[in-house]
């Protein structure tokens, strides 16, 4: 636990240094196009500081805090497209790729009771368990575990990029 505390402390110091650097950069910036990105990073850094401080406080009362602190990708600067978010560590361990899944089988992957949440579009089955638009394994009143080919075409016609960010788990047969 002591090691963990030191790790958190180091992490906190690094975040504070990052925040100071960003504040300094903002004060010298003449190119206002960069401001938004740096403010975004500053916001994220502050949120992380809050997170780490809460974990440090919790550690005093309860020991059930994850031992490792995996780093999320901060790709805001230099890359305007914020990358798709994949929580780490991955929560499913039984994931098989590119296997055949029947409609009946698909219906069991409804994201309930610890099961992963899958949906099918155009014959491909995608994992939406940790997709940010599928909170509680539902998306705008559509529950997971079904084929949404026509629904996808209605709302996201031509937006193949949405599908490209989702992990593929198999084919619908």
């Amino acid at each position: 636990m002591n090691n963990n505390y030191e790790l958190l402390n180091m992490h906190m110091n690094r975040l504070v240094a990052q925040a100071r650097q960003d504040v300094y950069t903002l004060s010298t910036l003449t190119n206002s196009a960069m401001t938004q990105q740096i403010l975004q990073r500053l916001w994220d850094t502050l949120s992380s500081i809050q997170l780490v401080s809460e974990i440090m406080v919790n550690q005093v009362s309860s020991p059930s805090i994850p031992d490792s602190m995996p780093e999320p990708d901060h790709a805001y600067l230099g890359n305007p497209a914020i990358p798709p978010i994949t929580p780490t560590p991955p929560l499913q361990t039984h994931q098989q790729t590119n296997r055949d899944i029947t409609v009946e089988e698909l219906a069991t992957f409804d994201g309930k009771n610890g099961r992963p949440a899958y949906v099918a579009v155009n014959g491909t089955v995608y994992d939406v368990t940790n997709n940010r638009a599928w909170a509680a394994a539902t998306h705008f009143a559509l529950p997971a575990g079904r084929d949404y080919t026509s629904e996808f075409a209605t709302c996201h016609a031509g937006q193949q990029s949405i599908l490209a960010t989702l992990p593929v788990v198999g084919r619908l047969v």
């Binding site: 809050q50 368990t129 509680a136 705008f140």
Partner: protein
Amino acid sequence: MEDQILPPESLTSEAIASRLTNNVSEQINNGLIKKQNLVYLELNGCSGNIISLLNGQNPDFEYTLNSMVDLRYSNSLMAAEGEQAVEKLMEVLEEDFILAVEGAVALKNNGLYNVIGRWEGEPFTGLQAAKLLGEKASHILAVGACATHGGVSAAKPNPSESVGLQSVLPEKKMIKLTGCPVHPDWFLGTLAHLLLYGEPETDNLDRPLMFYSTLIHDRCPRRPFFDRGIFAEKLGDKACLFKLGCRGPVTRVDCPTRQWNGHVNWPIGASTPCIGCAQFGFPDAMEPFINYDTTRIVEDE
């Protein structure tokens, strides 16, 4: 860059708001801006938006009434009642006015499911009022979920056959302020923008970009928990509320920085998931509001 206000001038919300309101008072006193008539119509809803509005600060409601607009009609706030009140409403029709509407328009039985008064001995329905005033208004603000798309009033099974304001005024341009209820700043800010600079810039769903442009998820103080896959298992947990059904990742509005009840707190700050009330489709499309049967296996302690 040269337009920015740099320190040591105070940059708190209160200071910025007071600079703005002083500026507007001055311009009104100098005759540069004219006070405009405002009609605030309450149709089929719960009056939640006007109650929320009374909680406004920077500017507060008193300032709005005294200095920004002439409030000519409001179901809840005016002193006149009965046919006299409707008479006031009819008088405004001869003049220029901004129309703000909260609540949905009930269509069933030709609007008889929502009667807001009596006019010339006949019941005066919300449907009549919306059409009559909507056609004449210089600007229209649809305030709250019911007015923008039907909201709670139009939730299944919708016995009153309620619809959003746009459905009865299909040709009219309107500014849509979603939310249940609308934050006082969203309404008063949009109104102030209308008076000062004209219509604010809106997105393709007619929502003002100044309030409805960022996702709650992108400004959520609990975002690091999401990024690391640490999820709350019950209400009140301090981690990310995504697995319980939080709609922050799909809801565009500034709640995390704006906050409610005099900028004190907001749903996620109180450890309850965002229910997506500022989304078109709320409430039906946003369910379940809370879900304990989650994708994450809850391990025994």
